[in-house]
Symmetry: C2
Subunit: 209 residues, 2 copies
């Protein structure tokens, strides 16, 4: 148990939770290993994870309130990190957000485990709610904030509900990544989407006519 | 077994398969009843369905090649039927297709069983593939055909890949229905989506400036 008490010297305890990156990594990797071995999410217990990671159950509970929170971090550890926004324009920020979504879609496709975990998460309402609150909801808020700034700066029309604009911008990429596993996610898709959406689907009428 | 041999007089045997709507209905309703009672899709056997519906196993196999095909029809029986296209314009056809998607989304939300069956289907690759081939792929082909006609008639720009336009048009509604169970699906959403997408997200520049 002494391992769990050793803080890296540069790190102050956060919210009273003793931290040690090596231990956290061991626990997350132990969970991944069990998932890779085909253990269904529903059958993974904190006890089994503790045994696989070579730590005590208390060591896990000191870091995560429960199985749900731990899984959210496991899934996050396999996904590319969230990007920095350039802040140069709404258009550029949206391209960066959509590009991150495209990359997560690709990661989800190439990693059978990650895909499998996502599918299993959806069948567990508690784990799905934890993932939604920790990961999806903040992403949505960020997207809405970028769109709101776009309206203020005159880049986005103001006569359409922002929630709807959000789904218009992110829906096509989400559909491709999550609902059509065979659809292409080529490089440049993020730019193409944003520019097509800004311009609209109507043919550009020739100014000569 | 004699019940299964009785054809309604107005109906000729189709593709050599003896049909009786009453028997089919009993089998589909029997399957629904088992699902409503909480039996997981994976545990439903043709034998159990036959017993619940009061028919022999052969009666089921005469109508469906297997469990997968039967489930597809069970799911279809709970969904609103696919709509007729008005054919007056691409815009009108897209509105009708999106409105049907909105109604299916609402049906999926209000019926806990239907929702549950959808989630379970996704965890069974064979059932999902059968549903995809029988239901989703034809819908996608129809949407692409409407868009292709729109390009021919000058309603849709021709410089964007049709597959991408398809996801731009249907992605937002799919995202709302399937990925954000809390998002609103209000009346008029189909029209609003199509018109916003055709026009684009850029502010309409005032002709006076």
């Amino acid at each position: 148990m002494s391992l769990t008490e050793s803080h890296p010297p540069q790190e102050a305890p956060v919210r009273g939770r003793p931290r040690s990156e090596a231990v956290e990594r061991a626990i997350i990797e132990g969970t991944m290993k069990l998932l890779e071995d085909g253990v269904p999410l529903a059958e993974l217990s904190i006890e089994r994870i503790a045994r696989t990671a070579g730590v005590g159950k208390a060591t896990i509970y000191r870091r995560w309130r429960g199985k749900e929170e731990l899984f959210v971090d496991v899934v996050r550890s396999t996904e590319p990190p969230d990007p920095e926004l350039p802040g140069t324009s709404m258009r550029d920020d949206l391209v960066v957000l959509l590009e991150a979504l495209r990359r997560r879609g690709l990661a989800n496709r190439t990693s059978a485990i990650l895909h499998n975990v996502h599918v299993q998460m959806k069948t567990s309402p508690r784990i799905w709610a934890a993932y939604h609150n920790a990961v999806i909801a903040p992403r949505r808020r960020l997207g809405l904030e970028v769109l709101r700034r776009g309206q203020q700066d005159g880049e986005l029309r103001t006569d359409v509900d922002l929630e709807l604009v959000h789904d218009i911008v992110f829906g096509p990429m989400l559909t491709r990544s999550l609902l059509h596993p065979d659809a292409e996610l080529p490089e440049g898709l993020a730019e193409q989407l944003v520019d097509t959406l800004l311009e609209g689907l109507r043919p550009v009428s020739s100014p000569m006519v």
